[in-house]
């Protein structure tokens, strides 16, 4: 068989055909709301963030100090053993300079780009990173390996969320 010998299906629609009402579509906007429970590991993680601290869990078999904390070690497949406070500083493992919002719309003119990064947290095992964003830095000056520190919301504004850390900024000197 060769593909060229067949009449292939799928009829492309033009945007104009939809706008002009030549194709009838049914639109629906689901209005679902979720409330996610977080369990003991992430629950404590959030409670500590509210206090301006970052906490991890340690597995006494592989000795990894894991962040985000988890009640089981996925490598050893056994319960983790201890709570360990780690630093609110770390190292940029990788980053991006992003001009697109979550829904693929573009940031507005004059808005600063999103600066997502994987940050390896000091005090956790090497390579243990979290997803967060960078701030107070010119995008072109960001480097992999850069040392950064958390910038926290004011204590009274914290709500027990990963966004209690506003962003990570470069450590000077």
């Amino acid at each position: 068989m060769e593909l060229e010998k067949f009449e292939l299906g799928a009829t492309p629609l033009k945007d104009s055909a939809i706008k002009e009402g030549k194709v009838l579509t049914v639109a629906k906007k689901p209005n679902l709301k979720y409330a996610w429970d977080n369990g003991p590991a992430i629950g404590r993680y959030l409670a500590e963030l509210k206090e301006g601290r970052i906490i991890a869990r340690k597995c006494n078999k592989c000795r990894r100090i894991m962040i985000p904390p988890r009640m089981f070690c996925e490598l050893c497949w056994r319960p983790t053993d201890e709570w360990v406070y780690v630093e609110d500083t770390g190292t940029v493992n990788t980053f991006s300079i992003c001009y697109v919002n979550w829904d693929a719309s573009r940031i507005k003119k004059g808005e600063k780009p999103h600066l997502p990064a994987v940050i390896e947290i000091d005090g956790a095992s090497p390579g243990m990173g979290i997803l967060h964003v960078l701030g107070e830095v010119e995008p072109e000056k960001i480097k992999i390996g850069m040392k950064v520190r958390a910038v926290w919301k004011k204590p009274e504004e914290r709500e027990g969320s990963i966004t209690d850390i506003l962003y990570f900024k470069p450590v000077r000197g």
Binding site: F6, L8, P12, D15, D103, P116, I130
Partner: protein, 387 residues
């Protein structure tokens, strides 16, 4: 291990388009009909159906497997839906292989159908919920973040440039000019890629495959049935898949260890000792251009950090020593998630039969591979095929 040998005996595909008039069921039916006709079979000959389709959120239809079953010939048949994100298109044929290899069935129709265009304003939005709901979603991530983060890490680790990586996009979009189903066939230059809109540095618009609607299907048969259907069966000699941790930020992104694990599983089954020598042609998953290189290394088709040199030397061109994505890949043919993986299986099937038309690679390859990748940058799915 005792199992029936399984062959691919027929294939079908629709055009890949940005927005299709047809529903997902209709696309599935078009691809399935073509697959059956290509090998002179009817739905009555099909004993089981394996369906692959990606997130329900694209269609806004829950239980999408059941929704698509009618178009896929699943009526009153043993029917199963597979889903591992972008890895689905190679995972569904692995399940089909099991259905037949186990001896439970002699035939299986594998169908992958995707309709991404139903999700507005853009299917990207549906991807937000793959991130952890508590520790990541509040940061408003987009799917492009993880590609940008991974690409940057990959570039930094080996000192690879954006210009070098852009050559993958140039190659694949050009290859797609010879694919009758292609959505984005085009002749472009590295400069065009570099000058296209920066979405999430280091990712530009032309580094990325498009969102697409489309479907693909193949017919699998046991050895004794396959030999009655065709004198050119293509054997599935190895299958492998592997899943890494969902704590994606706590493993180094420069190397896809789970793809290597999946590949080793498939190579062991196929008796392949030296993949670089024995795999003559491959369709690694290329939703972003750097992923082709990343996956070539995970698949052990290139040493770590060396895939880019094979690209620069022209070895991965269609007329090169080791053609990669001769179809045009996700970058050129389009990326209706699950159907893309199956399109890659179909390309290797056609190439090994010498039926790839203008896309045919020289040298009568005997052994090839198709691979897909997905979930939260954590799954690798691999199929090794021989004629």
């Amino acid at each position: 291990m005792a199992y029936q040998r399984v062959a691919i005996v027929g294939a079908g595909i629709t055009k890949f388009v940005r927005r299709a008039q047809e529903t997902g069921k209709e696309l599935a039916a078009q691809a399935s009909k073509m697959a059956l006709e290509s090998c002179g079979m009817t739905m009555d000959d099909i004993e089981s159906v394996s369906l692959g389709t990606a997130p329900d959120a694209f269609d806004g239809v829950h239980m999408k497997g059941e929704y698509l079953s009618d178009g896929s010939g699943g009526w009153r048949k043993p029917y199963m839906r597979q889903f591992v994100g972008g890895g689905t298109g190679v995972f569904a044929p692995i399940h089909g292989w099991y259905h037949v290899a186990s001896g439970m069935f002699d035939t299986c129709l594998v169908v992958c159908s995707e309709k991404m265009s139903s999700c507005h304003p853009h299917p990207q939005g549906a991807f937000k919920t793959i991130f952890d709901h508590t520790t990541e979603q509040p940061l408003n991530p987009t799917l492009i973040w993880i590609f940008a983060l991974e690409m940057n890490r990959f570039m930094q680790t080996y000192g690879i440039t954006k210009e070098e990586i852009a050559l993958v996009s140039v190659k694949n979009k050009k290859n797609a000019m010879d694919h009758p189903a292609a959505q984005l066939p085009m002749e472009i230059t590295v400069e065009d890629v570099m000058n296209s809109e920066t979405l999430a540095w280091p990712v530009n618009r032309l580094d990325i495959s498009p969102a697409s609607d489309g479907a693909a299907a193949i017919v699998l048969a046991s050895e004794h049935v396959a030999k009655r259907i065709t004198d050119k069966p293509v054997w599935i000699d190895g299958v492998g898949w592997n899943l890494d941790t969902a704590y994606w930020a706590t493993r180094d992104l420069y190397y896809p260890r789970y793809v290597e694990k999946a590949a080793r599983m498939a190579y062991d089954m196929a008796g392949i000792k030296e993949p670089k020598r024995e795999i003559e042609i491959a369709e690694p998953y290329d939703p972003f251009d750097y992923k082709e290189l990343h996956h070539m290394e995970g698949l052990l088709l290139a040493d770590r950090g060396e895939a880019v040199q094979m690209l620069l030397d022209g070895k991965t061109q269609r007329d090169g020593d080791r053609p990669m994505c001769p179809s045009g890949g996700a970058l050129g043919v389009g990326n209706p998630i699950s159907a893309t993986g199956l399109m890659k299986i179909i390309e290797i099937f056609l190439q090994l039969r010498g039926e790839a038309g203008k896309r045919q690679v020289p040298g009568n390859p005997r052994c090839g591979l198709a691979q897909a990748w997905g979930d939260l940058m954590q799954v690798g799915t691999v199929v090794v095929m021989r004629r």
